[in-house]
Each structure stands twice: as structure tokens, then as C-alpha cells.
């Protein structure tokens, strides 16, 4: 069963060879050299070779090779379900072009008294967030970022005007749970206007999660760390799903 014990592969089965590079905040010299060797050893490397070190004045940069002592026993890993990999930027656009055949229209706003657009901008603005482009950059999304302090009525009015598939609501300020009241109001208003079934309603913010969003009557909720890709992927699939069901 040796195949179940996995170590890195250099040029021979399970030789454990790895390369790493790091900088120590020490001036170059014997002390830094020894510190690097010791550190690599503590990281689990045998036969540590410092193949390159560079004096960066108060710092020293190292490139190190070694053989990793550790191995992974595959039989001890939990069974990983074959999850559908999330789509990337290109895939999402291609998916929409193929399955929906037109742009997905999204209206976003920070509603009520909220003036903090940082979350909404992270999802919608071109530049995006964490290296993920915002929805505006997706050729297959048509987006309207209304900005901050938008009354619920105005958001829905814009959604009707541009025949939006979805509205994105960002709520950052949450003192005394004012966001909950405001979000509930939005859903009620959409229902009263008969828009709710036609509109995918999404909420995001630091205090939002899927469960809270569902409780408030939204289709999805996105919390901290969300990128535009997560939202774009969800919207693409949800619009396609609704189309398929003829909604």
C-alpha cells in the first residue's frame, strides 16, 4: 500500500523534494544561514540545501531545497465529494451567452440610510476586489450601480425601468438592526408591487449570511470575503434555472 503514502516528487518516487524561498529579517552571514537551515529543518525538511542566499542589507533572501519528512496517508483523508467547480470570469460569460443568450441585467444599491458603498463597489465596480473583477467588467452583465442611500422605492423603480433580472442590496451599517427592518421593507414592497417572482433578490454585507437572507425573504445572501465571481456565478445559474423552468 505504499501508493497511499504520498510525499512530493522530485525525480524519484516519494523522494520528498521541495523548493521554497523566504526572507529572514537578519543581515546576511553565518547566523542568518544557520537560522535558515534550522527553520527549514523545523518545517520538516531533511538534507536542507541553501542553494542561494542574497544579502538584502538588513534582510537575507534564501532559496532552499530539502526532502520533506512528512507524508500524507490518502486512506485517512475524508471522502471529498466531487463538487462542481465554481465558474471563472470567462466561464460565467460563456455560460450566460450559451444558456441565456442575452446580458443579465443587475441593479445594485446601498439602500436606506446606508452610505457605505465599499461592499457594493467591491462586487460591482470594474476594479473589483481581491483580484476578481467586478460585475461591470463582465461583458455578459449589464449593471446599474445606483450608489448609496437609495430609497427602496427608487431601487425597484430602476429595476422595472431596465427590466432587471436581479437587484443587489448592500447593507453595511447595522446599528440596532436597522438593516433588517430596511431589508424586510424592500421584500414587502417588491411583493406588493408584484415584482417579487420576476426578480432575483440578493443581499450582501458584513453581517449577512445565507440563513439570514433566506429568513428575510431574499434569494441569496453573501457575507464577508465574497467576490464578484461568487455573485456572478450565482446569478448566471439562477437566471438560467428560471428560464429553463419557464418563469
Amino acid at each position: 500500500m505504499r501508493e497511499q503514502l504520498i510525499r512530493p516528487y522530485g525525480d524519484t518516487w516519494n523522494d520528498g523534494r521541495v523548493q521554497l524561498s523566504f526572507t529572514l529579517p537578519l543581515p546576511a552571514g553565518a547566523q542568518a544561514q544557520e537560522a535558515a537551515r534550522r527553520l527549514a529543518s523545523q518545517m520538516g525538511l531533511d538534507d536542507v540545501q541553501i542553494v542561494h542566499s542574497k544579502d538584502l542589507r538588513d534582510f537575507t533572501f534564501f532559496i532552499v531545497y530539502g526532502s520533506c519528512r512528512h507524508s500524507v496517508d490518502l486512506t485517512t483523508l475524508p471522502a471529498v465529494p466531487a463538487a462542481e467547480p465554481p465558474m471563472d470570469f470567462e466561464e460565467i460569460n460563456a455560460f450566460i451567452a450559451e444558456k441565456i443568450g442575452r446580458k443579465v441585467v443587475v441593479v445594485g444599491a446601498c439602500t436606506g440610510t446606508d452610505a457605505h458603498t465599499v461592499g457594493l463597489d467591491a462586487i460591482m465596480n470594474m476594479k473589483g476586489y481581491k483580484g476578481e473583477y467586478g460585475l461591470e467588467r463582465y461583458p455578459m452583465f449589464e449593471t446599474y450601480n445606483l450608489g448609496s442611500q437609495i430609497p427602496n422605492e427608487m431601487l425597484l423603480q430602476k429595476a422595472v425601468e431596465v427590466q432587471a433580472d436581479a437587484v443587489l442590496v448592500s447593507q453595511v451599517v447595522t446599528q440596532r438592526n436597522v438593516h433588517i427592518q430596511n431589508l424586510t421593507e424592500l421584500v414587502e414592497l417588491a411583493e406588493a408591487e408584484g415584482l417579487r417572482p420576476k426578480l432575483i433578490m440578493v443581499v450582501g454585507g458584513p453581517r449577512i449570511d445565507r440563513i439570514l437572507a433566506a429568513e428575510l425573504g431574499f434569494d441569496a445572501g453573501f457575507g464577508p470575503g465574497t467576490t464578484a465571481r461568487d455573485v456572478a456565478g450565482f446569478l448566471a445559474k439562477e437566471v438560467a434555472r428560471r428560464l429553463e423552468r419557464g418563469e
Binding site: 538584502l56 465599499v118 463597489d121 476594479k127 483580484g131
Partner: protein, 528 residues
């Protein structure tokens, strides 16, 4: 001397410049009609107002907000401050501190015009002298210490903590960096005030504050003396506080500013009227301070395709050039931006990169072009990334670029580690020294791929500018002409901060700078 590797049709270049003049003239007419809260806060800063009230609101905001709330900003904050100085016998700073209490500027009795004029002249002179001194210091330091050979190696620090930034900047300089940019924290561009004091927290960057500017300037001066090379400092003269940052940078001797006429509109959804007015005043200050601006056309290619949209970059270079000249900047101060962003899988992509880089170089021979590295097609594969950057370095030295922003092998992963920056500097030094004079040894084949691509870009640029001149710049932007982004003229952030100038509007800096920079009368402070 720019190497003439390509044949460029000068008639088309002249036509492009004529069109840019026409496009910019229309925008300038609107710029001259308005002021903004940020322009007024800049005047307050130049009068020496600094610090915050007890709630942490910067005093320039306190005085401008007070006058705006009274509906009297159309007269200019300079008037109200000078009037208060004349009435109370205090300095502008003391007046602002009193405003943080219960002083109301607009309730003071209006002082005799001659007395107000005298105060205005005194404080304007004082500020301009301080800026001129910094400019002279820079010129002396540059002359004594020298700068590195072009392309100048420009790196970024972005730890969020100014004290860490200082260490990293000094380390980078010791390994060959010529220019240090301190990246701003996410979303500072949308703050309608400039934070105060030194800062140690930020997300993906460090707050631009006057205290942070000063710390970094000092650190770079120190390391510059040690190395015998003047190290230049860059920050971001962009966003809702564009002219305020210009004033801070002028006073703290920054050397370059990212300062684009349209970036805020396109990429930050800032209102057009606000941006155009702010960029104009900020550029007048940069012009007087001897600061080199960097324009942001490289950003277009992160949203639009670099092959299809190359001409939009060149067209925007022409527009940015014209708007900058109109604000008194000289060609040597224009770091016009472009980028190495073609898909690495494109066959002959490197040839097309050379075509673009050399075309821009020959069209703007007197300007220090800002060349930006690959970002769009950088992945987590740092080994491949290092090779992409080497190709970029080669294109840059071959085509004689001036300001070369180093690509980082970890571009798509994190803000650079200390070692990333040094690996990039080693890469650039190797390639640039190894191929130092290659551009002087070659020309491109008259009927070759590179020449043809250049002709295509120039022809498309002229056609594109013709369309924009027809439409007007604002409508062109609203129709998605740049970066595939549409922004409505009446939309965007900061619109409420745009104020129509009154017939009695006073801005002594605009007047004085207009004169000093040799701008036309219409661009002085008074409404034309």
C-alpha cells in the same frame, strides 16, 4: 533622443492633436464655470489650514462645509477666510480652529476690499513660496545626486503601515529602485476628505496623508544620500480629493503623481463635472510644483482587450496631453500611460507590444512615458510571471520608455513581499543592462508586422478621435468609448460637491498660478 524605429505619418499625428484641442476646449469651457468642495478645501490647505476638530473631521472640511451649508461657497472659501482674517486679526489656522467651535464665517461683517485683497495676496504668496522652495530643493538634489538611467525603475509599497512602507521602500532603493509609489488603501479615492496624521492600518495600501508623505520623503532623502541617487516619490492625485492631494504633494516634495483626467469617472464612478474641474486645478498645482504626472490609460486594458482597444489608449494619451497642457503642465511633466497587456498566448504578441510602445514613444518624444507591466494575464504561476515580466522589461528598454513600473511575479497573489520586489529589480537590471542599446541598433522593416500594426493603431486613433470630437467627450464617455465603461454625465459620486462660481468668485491660487504658468485669462480664478 528618441530612436526612429517606425515610420509615423506626421499628418495623422497633427490631425489627432487638432482633434484633442477641440475636445479639450469644450470641456475647459465647463471647467471654468464651476468650483468644487475639494478645490475649495485645497485653497484652505494652501492657506495653512491643517488638523482636525474634536470629532476628527479635517479643518479644511469644517470651513468649507460651513460655507457650503450657508449657500455661500460660490464666492470661494478664499474670500471668507481672508475676510475672517481681516476681521479678527487671526491666522487662517486660528480662524479654522474657531470654526470648529462656534465661529460662523458668513456672519462676520464684510471687510473693506483692499484689506481682504491684502490678506489674500499675503497668504497666497506664502504658499507659493513654500511650493517653489520645494521645487528648487528637488532640482538641486537631482542635479547633485542624479537619477538612475531610463527606463526608471518604479516599484510599489503597500503594507498599509507607513513605518513598514518606509523599510520596504529603503530596501527597494538599495536594490536599484529609482521611484517609490505608496499605494493607497482601498476606497480612499471615494473619501471626500483627506485623513490626518501618520497611519498604520490600511487595506491593500496606506492612507495618503500629509504626515505619511513627509515620513516617506524623509526616508527616501536619507537613502538617496546614502546611495548617491535621488529617489523619487509618487502618490495618487486622484479620487474625490484630487487637488488637495496635489497641494499636499507640492508642499511635501513628492516628485510624481498619478493624475489622470478620466480615471475617476471611469473606474471610480466619480461625477464627470467634479472630476474635470478637480483634475484641472490639481494639474495647475502639479505644474507649478514641477511634479511629473502619470496618466492611467493602462487601466483601460484591464477591462477592454489590449489588441482591439490599443487605439483608445493612444487617443486618451492625446486627450490627457491636451488637458494637461491646458492646465500649464509642460511636455516633460507628462508621464503618459500605456501597458504591456496582450494575451501571452497571442502569436507574435510581443511584436504587437513593441509596435504600440514604440508608436507612443515616437508620438510623444518629449514626455516621460509611463509603461505598465502585465497584470491581466498574470496568474499564480510565479515562474511564468517572472518570464512575462522579463519580456516586458525587454520591450521597455528596446523602445526607450521612461517610467517603468516593475511587474511583480506575485502580481495576482498578494501585494509584494520584500523579496518579490528585489527579484523584480534583479530581473529588470539584468534585461535592461543586457539589452541597453538594442533600440539604437535596429529599425523595423518598412513592410513588416510591427510597422503595419503601428499604422493601424494610428489610423484607428485618428478615426476614434474624430468620433469623440463629434460627440463631445462627455457623451463619448457615457457611450462607453473608453475601457468599455459607460458613465452618465449627471451621475457618479461627488456631484453634490460641484458649485457654480459666482460673478464674485475668488480663488487667488487659480489666478496667480494661471499667470505664472502663462495660461489664458479665461482660466484665471474669475468666471469668464
Amino acid at each position: 533622443m528618441v530612436n526612429q524605429l517606425l515610420q509615423i505619418d506626421q499628418k495623422q499625428v497633427e490631425r489627432a492633436r487638432e482633434l484633442a484641442v477641440q475636445i479639450a476646449r469644450d470641456i475647459q469651457r465647463e471647467i471654468d464655470e464651476v468650483t468644487t468642495v475639494s478645490i475649495e478645501r485645497t485653497v484652505a490647505r494652501l492657506f495653512g489650514i491643517d488638523g482636525t476638530n474634536s470629532e476628527g473631521v479635517p479643518l479644511p472640511n469644517v470651513v468649507v462645509d460651513q460655507v457650503a451649508a450657508a449657500g455661500k461657497l460660490h464666492r470661494g472659501i478664499a474670500f471668507w477666510l481672508a475676510n475672517a482674517v481681516a476681521a479678527l486679526g487671526k491666522t487662517p489656522q486660528e480662524v479654522a480652529e474657531a470654526c470648529a467651535g462656534d465661529l460662523s464665517l458668513c456672519s462676520l461683517e464684510i471687510q473693506p476690499p483692499a484689506r481682504v485683497e491684502q490678506v489674500l495676496a499675503e497668504y497666497t504668496q506664502r504658499a507659493l513660496e513654500a511650493i517653489a522652495r520645494q521645487r528648487q530643493t528637488r532640482e538641486e538634489l537631482k542635479a547633485r545626486l542624479g537619477t538612475g538611467p531610463e527606463p526608471l525603475k518604479y516599484v510599489i509599497v503597500a503594507s498599509g503601515n507607513i513605518f513598514e512602507d518606509v523599510k520596504q521602500a529603503q530596501a527597494a532603493a538599495r536594490h536599484g529602485a529609482d521611484i517609490i509609489a505608496v499605494i493607497r488603501t482601498t476606497a480612499q479615492s471615494l473619501l471626500d476628505y483627506v485623513p490626518y496624521g501618520t497611519t498604520t492600518e490600511g487595506f491593500g495600501g496606506t492612507y495618503a496623508t500629509q504626515a505619511n508623505f513627509r515620513l516617506m520623503r524623509q526616508a527616501l532623502d536619507e537613502v538617496g544620500e546614502e546611495l548617491g541617487r535621488y529617489i523619487q516619490l509618487v502618490n495618487y492625485c486622484s479620487g474625490l480629493c484630487m487637488p488637495e492631494i496635489a497641494a499636499m504633494g507640492a508642499l511635501e516634495r513628492l516628485d510624481m503623481m498619478l493624475n489622470d483626467a478620466m480615471y475617476g469617472i471611469l473606474f471610480r464612478d466619480i461625477n464627470m463635472d467634479r472630476t474635470f474641474a478637480d483634475q484641472h486645478f490639481s494639474r495647475m498645482i502639479n505644474a507649478y510644483a514641477g511634479i511629473i504626472i502619470n496618466t492611467g490609460e493602462d487601466n483601460y486594458l484591464t477591462t477592454a482587450d489590449a489588441y482591439e482597444q490599443a487605439h483608445t489608449v493612444l487617443a486618451s494619451n492625446f486627450i490627457n496631453e491636451r488637458l494637461a497642457l491646458q492646465a500649464g503642465l509642460r511636455p516633460w511633466q507628462l508621464g503618459l500611460g500605456h501597458a504591456f497587456e496582450l494575451d501571452p498566448k497571442l502569436p507574435n504578441g510581443f511584436l504587437y507590444e513593441l509596435a504600440m510602445a514604440q508608436t507612443v514613444r515616437q508620438i510623444f518624444p518629449a514626455s516621460p512615458l509611463k509603461y505598465m507591466p502585465p497584470t491581466k494575464y498574470m496568474t499564480g504561476d510565479i515562474f511564468m510571471g517572472h518570464v512575462q515580466n522579463a519580456m516586458f522589461n525587454l520591450a521597455s528598454v528596446l523602445t526607450g520608455q521612461s517610467i517603468h513600473l516593475l511587474g511583480m511575479l506575485t502580481e495576482a497573489i498578494h501585494t509584494p513581499y520584500l523579496s518579490d520586489r528585489i527579484l523584480s529589480l534583479e530581473n529588470a537590471k539584468y534585461v535592461m543592462e543586457n539589452a541597453r542599446d538594442l533600440g539604437r541598433e535596429i529599425t523595423f522593416k518598412p513592410d513588416g508586422l510591427i510597422q503595419k500594426r503601428s499604422e493601424e493603431i494610428v489610423a484607428k486613433t485618428v478615426a476614434f478621435l474624430e468620433e469623440i470630437a463629434q460627440l463631445g467627450l462627455k457623451r463619448a464617455i457615457s457611450q462607453g468609448y473608453f475601457a468599455d465603461i459607460k458613465r452618465p454625465p449627471a451621475g457618479g459620486k461627488g456631484r453634490e460637491g460641484v458649485v457654480r462660481k459666482g460673478i464674485d468668485y475668488v480663488n487667488p491660487f487659480m489666478e496667480r498660478l494661471g499667470r505664472e504658468l502663462g495660461l489664458q485669462a479665461a482660466e484665471g480664478g474669475k468666471r469668464s
